[in-house]
Symmetry: D3
């Protein structure tokens, strides 16, 4: 039995609310069970130094967690004066995942920053960030097309992410915090709607696991992301038909 | 005429929603017009080094702004590796304001941190933070009393804050961003429900102003905080009768 | 009775010695009782990035305290690797206060930095810094006029600052360290010679105070700054007639 | 054709030299083609704060690269004042990988730090670090057993790592720098000698890839690590029979 | 001819004023020509961690320069967030120089910090710091003896420092800024009153120099420090007979 | 007797291996007894900001020590976020020493960075760094001449360094770690092959020493560097005749 009573292949409820950040070109407040992440896309007419003059764009991400998004208050990274290794690892993953489906050359010399800030945490914040950030990015790009800044949508695919893990209840989909902190292995799958792989990060927490177990987790992830793709599509359609 | 069409002595709409931060002992999401701040109280069973063993408690605050809470994206302080002077000044003000109405000795060796994070900014974020933080603090203390950790509520007053300024439309109450950025003078009043002063910060932005002007701003502030005290009272009552 | 035996409305002895910093365009070593601050104005032919090409100048301030300016040695901020929130708050206040009386457009694309370094501290260091920095600034501007870099003095007023507070001896003027550390409320008034307000920072240290008490403090401040304006005037006249 | 003329499933030459760091409890200088990493194990009689008094040990890793290990000189992280996100990501991976095969409870309250410093870089430095660090760790633990500090070897498995990628020459084993910088996908496999998975990190560099491609890369990795396990075994035997 | 018209073996005027820092256990404001350094000794009843429980004391130094002590304003190290390599080198030198004449065991578990802050700079600030710091240290120790905290003066010698250099005018004593910035070689001699060597730092600025030249500089230094020893002695006597 | 059984005027075995850093313009792995430093020269077509447009070049150095180069593991400076005072002092010394024999104007607007990283430490690492860095620099410059980037070798001399000290065995040459940590005085001599002085740093560790003792150390250093000059010459000849 899972602590939440869910079936092994059952996602938590997913909702994506757009427009929360009033000043931003695109934003999505994603809720996956008790995890809540505000994903915000900001468009700027400049690129990082290493790309200047190359006629190509850039997509990057930053990740943060409010100090009391978690059970006990964590230190504020701005006050400590540096981002943790975990934060940097996660924001690099989000950035890479979204770049893999953007035609950077078609974007031109613009950059889009995806800020993913966790308001409430209950496991799976990096996967929720990727899933929500895709919606924020999609809306920002849609606005650029609508304003004729871009002649076409420079997006080559739809990306979502989910974590699966080996728990006492066997291989399960979409770990919550309680499951995550006790899992023997935890794997994040970043996948596309056309069934390709963007990123796989599988980690044995306690002891190594078998290839068969890995394949079971992969199959669960396939199930999970299909729910997420639907939620993304619904959010974009709702936002653009407003 | 004010840009928003408001009367000189008219506040923007104020709402305070409690319970947004699920893990926290108290939280208040305050909206004052387009400004939206999540204020979260965290209780911890320890005090800073300078108070250890003195039998007294501590109340402090931290302030942050999401990178795209504003019209153009600002740099994330955690990524820059330090908090700006403005951030530090604001969080020191919030902490002082709340400590002035808490009986720290009655609190015992516990500390309460108020995290005020701006989700959307449209002027007056420090005042909204103080007003919302009082609600979060009040709820956290109420929980400690309800759980018999404290025998009585160690709160000696109710605090709220509002900014007033000298604009082209004359002295006005509750500046929004457009007014604030063009005001000749800007004064923040942190006041108590029993009509006392916690903190006054009056600043000439462009050129010094007269004592008469200052007195007009003070009178407007008295009007404004009475609205805020009502919103605070309503939020606390609603939360505790749930 | 005040610890020093002073009358409630009595300032400590004030002296301002100019020319202490030999390389600087203007400098003033101000002593207010046991508080001693070296205020130094440096003129540079450039402005911060946000002002470049706008044809306007800038005035800013930095504040520091020698490690043993106080009763017990404090850590050196350069060694700790960051300026405290208190330091940043004070230097922002000094900069704002002086900018309020400078015609930045008339200054042209130059910047003037006021370095205020506390050599000995006995309360009121931020007020002494503002009062001394005005003299250093005035001398530096005078030199620019004398050298025909500027056609006229771009100064619109004379600024000085004093702290008043509620102590056991009632409302008193010009708190020394012993009074300051025990005061129930402490208010800094930055005022101009033509009786206008540049900045007011009133803070309840322990419990909120009444509007009547605030008005008494304000009246004391009026008395105090008149002494400071005389000391400033004397220092400038002495320096320029040398 | 691969740039180096290697077969798709062909590793570069691998050598592991032990004892290079004279003061350390264990050390391995691993060379995989032109990549050269010095892996050093340091044993200390204390554990990080979060483990104190729990009777269990800790294994962690730090990673660095000499400024001119690469084609063009990179900035020294100590001079920049912080470790890059890439560095932190890699050292977290090395630490996790080794902890997965150590019986931390059997280690007792000791910690072992694996310093992996890249002397020359030609692709695959994180994989070489893991492979070499296992040898350094094994030797340090062997010394603790030999000195009767530990009653038995607290190691539950043998770990090695290799990167595989999709290049113009198709799926290939053990990418060098030239291949790595142009690969369409790059996957690091951290595997055990008993054919289990410690960590998989698969990343689409340019565009997402298929599950079939992923499976081909996995099969190549199986081939590669068997070479590495032999090199590790040889190095340990040689060192311990000296 | 030297720019100042001084003879090759002529020191600039030297004065040492004590008691400038009112709260400190010992202080000396030393002036060597246009160079002015405030040297302050602070006694604390604790030692750094590496000495705790060893029954021995510690003497250390910190060095700083006010931003406008020099011809053009330098950045404030506290604002930059770190001390320069030059600052660290100088403060390490001052600390070592004074420790060489203190009987640290006789001091007991106390530490004395010498803060040397340059108020005006015209060459030779590190030498003036050492010379002035010895006086501040001597006075602080004298006070500890007078208060019976120490039974005898734990000082084994008298230390002073002077710089000599190879200039266009040949080898000269006590370089000022103009000479220092153009010297072919610059050597700092830290010597004791009983003619022993504490530290020698000789540096070729432009091209290496001969051993004969070095010996000439050494002879000049002997002349210079005798003047400094007299100034130190006078300052201590004056202070203690007050 | 010296701990190593060496004669007072006997160097440890010295070897210099070139070409260790495969990507660098010049490199030397120097071993002096148990001390081992990798010295690497990197040529870049730019100069620091203060030299831009002046037509002259720059030579600088950075120094580091692997965490376990020493008996007990030291903290990694990149992880601590700053370089120690000792590190900065050493790298400034290495840079100055090499600049003293380079014709920077003849180098043109190029800079050469010498990275000196200590792989194993047994005393004398700064001297070994200087000695090895000269070889790396010489090889890099030779390559620039060979490629006709430079018309002639812009090197005016040959530099090497050795430490001498006063130990229980009297004045000795080339201190190892055991001697260094117990020496009463320690002097580093940076000398040229034509018998001139580049830098002398003599430090009394415990108590001041006499001028006679200093002269004895200087004589020993003359003996020592002649060995080092031979080793440098041999390394350069071997490398260039390969």
């Amino acid at each position: 039995m899972r602590p939440s009573g869910r079936q092994p292949n059952q996602m938590r409820p997913v909702t994506i609310e757009t427009g929360f950040a009033r000043h931003a070109e695109g934003s999505a407040l994603i809720r996956v069970g008790g995890t809540e992440v505000l994903c915000v896309a900001s468009v700027e007419n400049r690129v990082p130094p290493f790309l200047r003059g190359k006629g190509t764009g850039w997509v990057t991400a930053e990740y943060g967690m409010l100090p009391r998004a978690t059970h006990t208050r964590g230190n504020r990274e701005a006050a400590k004066g540096k981002q943790s290794g975990r934060t940097q690892e996660i924001q690099r993953l989000i950035g890479r995942s979204l770049r893999s489906v953007v035609d950077l050359a078609a974007l031109g010399e613009m950059s889009i920053t995806l800020d993913c800030d966790v308001l409430n945490a209950d496991g799976g914040t990096r996967c929720a960030s990727i899933t929500g950030a895709w919606v924020a990015l999609r809306l920002a790009l849609g606005q650029l097309v609508a304003k004729n800044v871009l002649t076409h949508m420079p997006l080559r695919g739809q990306v979502a992410a989910v974590s699966c893990g080996l728990t006492k209840a066997g291989p399960v989909l979409d770990l919550d915090y309680e499951e995550d902190s006790a899992a023997a292995a935890d794997t994040n799958f970043v996948l596309t709607a056309d069934r390709r792989i963007v990123e796989i990060q599988g980690t044995a927490e306690e002891s190594p696991f078998t290839e068969d177990a890995f394949n079971e987790l992969f199959a669960l992830a396939r199930t999970g992301v299909s729910v997420l793709f639907d939620a993304q599509t619904l959010a974009v359609e709702t936002a653009e038909n407003r």
